[in-house]
Each structure stands twice: as C-alpha cells, then as structure tokens.
Symmetry: C2
Subunit: 448 residues, 2 copies
C-alpha cells in the first residue's frame, strides 16, 4: 500500500543480516490482517526495519480452514513448538487470544530470547508485569500496542512521547460498549437494557455483556495503562470498579441540566507518594473533548506535568486497527533485533510498588441522586446531613414535581470537592435515619 | 522526575559505549527546558538510551546572560564550530530558531554525520525535504517532533503507528492563534480585530499577526505533515491558503444555525494519483471532535485506511511541551547511535513527487454568504445561477430581514458536494451580471 521505500539504501547502510523471521500464534482476523499488511507493505517495512520480514510459521488449530491469500500454506502448523522452539524464529506474534495457552507460549518464547508481540489484552492485564519482568531479565522485547486501545497509539505515546515527562493524570473512555450504551441512553432516550440489546444486535456487545457493562474490561485496560504511565504494578482486583448498570435514563437528563454528560471513565492520578486508579460512570462538562467521543470510539486524555493535556482518540477495538498496531510493534522489535539492541524498548517500563489510595480518601466532586418523600424542610435536612461531615454543596435541585403529595421525589445534589469517605458516611447516616425512599446514587464529577 | 530506572541492568546488556554526547545550538526557553529535563531524568533516560546522555557544548549569543541551573557554565561557547565541528559530539540539538544560521549549522552537522534534533518549524517547512535527503544520504538521523504540533506526538505517530497503513485524509487545527480568535468571535461575540487584539494582549498572537491569521503558519505545518503522511515534497507556496481575515461575526451565527462551527483547518487528502493540500476556514459539525478543540489547543485528525480515524490533541506550542518533544527525539536518535543503526528513523521518510490537485478540481460542500438587494425572485435567481453549472443546493436561507425595502440582504447557501471550479464560476457569472451588493464569500464544509 505504501509507495516504494528506500529498501536498497537501507541494505547498504545497516548491519547486514538475512531477514527478521516471524512466527505467528493464531491466524484469525487479526493474524490474517497482519499477514496481509506485511505482504502489502513488504518493501516499505524492509526499509524501516533494515532487513526483510519473513514469515516462517503460522500456528492454527484447524489446518483445513481457508486463510487469507497472504498466508502461504507451507507456513501452517498445528504444533506450537514449531513456532516457539524454532531457533530460526526471531519474533513470535501472539494473536491467538485466550489466557492459559497464550501465557505458556509467550513465556516459552521469551525464555528462548525471542522478541514477542502480542495483541492479547487479557494476558497483559493479568500477567503483564510478570511478562515484562521476564522479558527484561532475558534481555528481549515484549511489545503490546495492539492489546490496549486497538489502533490508538497509546502505548508508544506513553513510552516515547512522555519519556521525559511525568503523567499526573489520565482519563479514558476505554470501553466502546459502555460508551455506545450511554450514548444511546442519552441521545435516543433508551433504557439501559434496551440500549444493551441494541449494542448486542450491532455486534458491539457480547451475549454476556457483563465484562463490559460491569467495568471489568476497562479495569483491565487501566492496569496496563498504569503500568506504563505510573510504573505501577497493580492487579485489576485492587481497583475501585463500577459499571454502568445503575445508570437510569433520568440521570442523563439531570446531568444535562447541569451542563454535564455521563461517560464511563478509567481514571488514574499520580500524587507522587500514592496513585489513584478507579473505573466508574463520571459526569464531565458537555464542552470537554471527552464528552464528544461518541459511539464505540475510545479516547484517552493524558495530563503531563510539562506537556499539559494530550488526548488520543480512535478505534479502540477492531481487527484491522489492531493488526496495524501489531505490525507497528513488529517494526519496532525487528529494528531492535537488526540493531543488536534487543530489550531496549521493554527495559523502559520501570515498575515499582506504588501504594494505591483507598477509595474513601479520593477527593473529587459528586453528583448525588436522592429519593425521599416530599415534605417541608427536606432540602435543609439533606444539606445539613452533608454539611455535618464537611461536605459543602454547589447546587441542589428538585428537578421534577411529585406525582402526589408525600410521594418520593428526586433531589439532585452537586457537591464541591469533598473526601469520598465523608460523602458516603453522610449518606449512610441519613439512610439509617430513614430519610430515603430508595438507595442513594453517587456518581463522581471530573471537571477537566 | 521519573522514578529510578534500570540504568544498571541497561549497562549490563547493551553494547557498551562511553556516553551519547550532546551539543546544543541555543539556550533560550526551549533549550533551557531540554537541559533541565535531561538533568532531572538522567538515570531514566540512560536506561532508555542504553548510555548516559552527556552535554558537551551549548552555543549562545550572549555568554554573560543568566542560564538555567542545569546549564554548566563550562559548556557555554559563542563559536558554532565548537558544536558542529567537534568530532566528539554525537547529537546536535538545534533550538536556536531562525532560518539562515540554523540551516547552515544543521547542514554542517548532518555532513559531519551527527544526529540532528531540531524544533525549528520554519527550517523544516522551508528546507525539510532537502535536509531529510541529506540525512538519508549521510546515513544519519534528523528528528523534528518539536517542530510541529509542540507537545503533540504527531511525527512519531505518522512515522511509527501508521507504518503499515495509508493515511487517506488529515484535518488539523494547527494554529492556536486562529483557533483562539475564531473561538472568541463565536463565543464572545467579538469582532475579528477585537479578538486579535485580545489574543495579542494574552501573548497568543504576535505584534504582526499576519503569519498566523493569514494561514501561512498553518501552511508551513501542513507541508511538514504532508511529507510524513503522504511522502509529498511540496513547497508551501504551492498550497491553496486562506486566512481568517474575511470571517465576520455573523458567519459564526449563520454557521451555528446550520449546526456548524467555523474552524481554521489544514486539510490533506491522498487520492493515490494525486494529493490535495489546502488551508482555509472550514465549517464542521458542532458535534465533531475537532469542533470542541478550544482556545489555543491544537488537534490533528488522521484517517487511516485500516486504522480508521485517529485524533491527537494537545498543546501545539509552548516551551515546555516543545522541550519534552525534543528530549523524546534525543532519546530516539541516541538509541539508534548506541545500537549502531544511525539513519534508520529518517530513512522511513520516503518522499516522492506527488501531483497536487488544482484547487478548482477540489470537490466538497460549500457555505456561501451572498449579499444582494432584496427583490422578488432573488433566491430563484441564485439557485438558478448555481444550478446552471451543476451546483445543487441543500439549503438556502435569508437569515435576517433587510433594514429597508430594497436594501441588501444576506442569502446563505449550503451546497451539496460540488466541484469548486463550478461554484466559483457560477458566483463570478452572477457577480458580473451585477447581482451582488458585495463580493460573495465562500467557505468550505467538511463533514467528518
């Protein structure tokens, strides 16, 4: 697809070696896309790497299945050892997905000193720090641009562009399913279940959507991002994670009234002595750049101490974007091998134990939706209950009239910055006093 | 600023060399920032490069001037040859700005086989292709992330993330002054001159703002982007360039009425057989991501054939963001040198002669603001005049009543996609027939 590259000049000036030999684990839509991109851009990639890329082996489960034209039948094998144990293979490209089998093969490839490129998010989220450690110890490279954010070059931006900066904050729309569902609720007036069913019908949500709508997929991605942005070695299970299941259509209407939209965000902050990592529905101003990221698109906002804000936006998933990211990693790892400098990319990921701030110590602003039977002095009672714990209010409204006198009404509160533990304690105290007709809802507000 | 890096492990596994020795040309705010970032992140950068970075020389004009604490007085020199002719210097960092002197020193550094990092936009826009050719021929690297888009990692994204993709289109808000002025006109209801004066007062516009408001700065940046995105060797003088000077406050009101905002965009398209490069005020939908890039921020939207849309957003200018970009380039170039693979980064910029589509052959949608004395049949006459040349209309409105009967009124036309030559020919024909009370205004519409 690219125009003619300077392959001849390349060969003339870089240390000569035969070729960079690739072994693929898997040949589904991403793997097939990788083979096609490598074939279509062969001369261009050769110029960039300093040696031709040569596919040696492609591991598949079913050798009789039809493959893309770029897949030479002679490469096909069903034996993993033909890829990970072949000393002639320089880079193992893991595009098989899943956890156990992929983990074992990636570990074997690293142990054999091969460069590894993977697009496996689950693998990275669960075993990323350990695999990075293994690669650093073995002096080889582990690259995974395709595993997070699909075609968004977030990994190399964190690794390269922020090399001399300090990421103070990140906030990302990293789950396309949640973003689609919230968008349809807000713009189409759909209920949550209806929006999820629509996402399923369009192929944007799984039959069991809970990994997405429960926030766990976003938490996995936040762990990988935190590894690069904050050098943090944090398991997904340690994060505060909320999904979008509790959001109701009226929350969108109320948020709109205050100039906000509700987005499902993965948020990280670095305070130096501790970091904050949390995944939850968040109110952000309608005019912020993240507010206008629509449909299944993803976006990640980074705040560097020196760079200031930097946002990357694009397709967070999809076979072709992921294949492009995998090829960009093959190029990086291949270039390191040609240069005799394997391991240099991965060594940049310097991880340390980073204490995680407890969620009750988080300080931000809050949107509270409280349901209580209407009576004189109700608003004063709520304001007083929050004030007792030092939570001060920016706004407090009763957006709708009750159906009949004494019926429960919604009271919506927007707080100033407060410690989360104080907000939840105040709500709990009022709840035990029988003030509420339904459990209070709390969503956080991010201002920038 | 970064936490402890794995500098010791780095030294153990990479080919051992003394250090990567830097010479700076200039020590203003960007240069000072580079020295400070290098000092503050020394161990971290050493781990990433595979060797320590060591500053040898800093060229300044006035040796008595106070410098940042990170600048050792013993480095200071006023003789350029101490930097570019010293065989012990590996990388020359050009942060002096200007054109002639910088060009001569960068050429000498490249000729001496040194890696060159520059943040000089003017130099790149005017001499980029030739300097890239020189670097490729000499087998050394020329890196310039800091020269375009300040802290936005657009150069490395085009070079690395899109390595196996094809950029079909780019659209960028690349001039902060124009973006600020248009934003204040739209949101603050200011006139153009008033908004420019405000920008000057805030330090966002030069005393002579015409390089920015005339679109020439954006055209320079588009040339550099086109070199990487389309492999195009195109002088800025060949581009179709319009500034924001003709925009009136009512254009913002009319655009708003149709659901658009007006942004000053640099636009590039690749049609395979030809490319399109143009800089002009553009109407884009209010809900598009570029529409919400406010103030002096910049954003560049890339559309890859495989990757789909990818947007990068951040501070397009500023000393600190630029310094971070310069250091990220020093890291890349230094790593290549340590690996014995100098020239590999730059060789990826494969330029070819690319024919530029004449502006009259551009096909897009148009916003036309026409002023004509009100009379029966006026709208029919305009619709007919456009229709005669095959330009079909989507909407046509007279947004305001005339002050007195027979006074000129504004007629605003939104066309369907049309060939620009036909639109301008139709307008010219109506103009010569004396239909208009003032020269017609034409602005282009981009839908995505």
């Amino acid at each position: 697809m690219r125009g003619p590259a300077n392959a001849e000049e390349a060969s003339a000036t870089t240390p000569r070696r035969g070729s960079i030999r690739l072994g693929l684990l898997g040949c589904g839509t991403v793997g097939g896309g990788v083979l096609e991109l490598c074939a279509a851009n062969a001369r261009w990639l050769e110029g960039r790497v300093g040696a031709p890329l040569e596919v040696r082996r492609v591991l598949v489960r079913d050798p009789r299945k039809e493959r893309v034209a770029a897949c030479d039948p002679s490469w096909i094998t069903t034996r993993p050892e033909d890829v990970v144990d072949d000393p002639e293979i320089d880079i193992v490209v893991e595009v098989m997905g899943g956890e156990e089998a992929a983990l074992e093969l990636v570990e074997r490839a690293i142990a054999a000193g091969k460069g590894v490129v993977t697009a496996n998010k689950l693998l990275l989220a669960k075993h990323g720090p350990r695999l990075v450690d293994l690669a650093i110890a073995r002096g080889t490279d582990l690259a995974f641009e395709g595993a997070v954010g699909g075609g968004i070059p977030i990994i190399r931006t964190l690794r390269e562009a922020f090399a001399s900066d300090w990421v103070e904050r990140l906030a990302g729309i990293v789950n396309g399913t949640c973003n689609y569902v919230l968008g349809r609720m807000r713009e189409g007036g759909l209920g949550l279940d209806e929006a999820v069913r629509e996402a399923q019908a369009k192929g944007y949500a799984e039959a069991d959507p809970s990994l997405d709508t429960g926030g766990h997929d976003a938490a996995h991605k936040l762990c990988v991002l935190a590894m690069l942005a904050f050098g943090a070695r944090v398991p997904a299970s340690a994060l505060h994670v909320e999904g979008i299941e509790g959001i109701e259509e009226r929350d969108h209407r109320y948020a709109e009234r205050f100039g906000y939209v509700i987005k499902h965000l993965a948020i990280g902050r670095d305070f130096g002595d501790a970091i904050e990592l949390r995944v939850h529905p968040t109110l952000i101003p309608k005019t912020s750049v993240l507010a206008n990221v629509s449909g299944v698109l993803n976006a990640i906002l980074l705040e560097g101490r020196a760079l200031g804000p930097c946002m990357l936006y694009g397709r967070g998933a999809g076979d072709l974007p992921t294949a492009v990211s995998v090829v960009s990693d093959i190029l990086d790892v291949g270039r390191s091998i040609v240069a005799g400098a394997s391991g240099l990319l991965t060594r940049g990921i310097a991880m340390e134990p980073r204490p995680l701030k407890p969620q009750e110590d988080v300080e931000t602003r809050y949107y509270l939706r409280l349901s209580a039977p209407e009576r004189p002095g109700l608003m004063a009672r709520i304001a007083g209950g929050l004030g007792e714990l030092g939570v001060s209010l920016e706004q407090m409204v009763q957006p709708e009239r009750p159906t009949a006198p004494g019926d429960p009404v919604d009271i919506v509160v927007i707080t100033h910055v407060a410690r989360e533990g104080n907000v939840t304690a105040a709500l709990e105290r009022m709840r035990t006093e029988g003030l509420f007709a339904a459990p209070p809802r709390l969503y956080r507000i991010e201002v920038s």
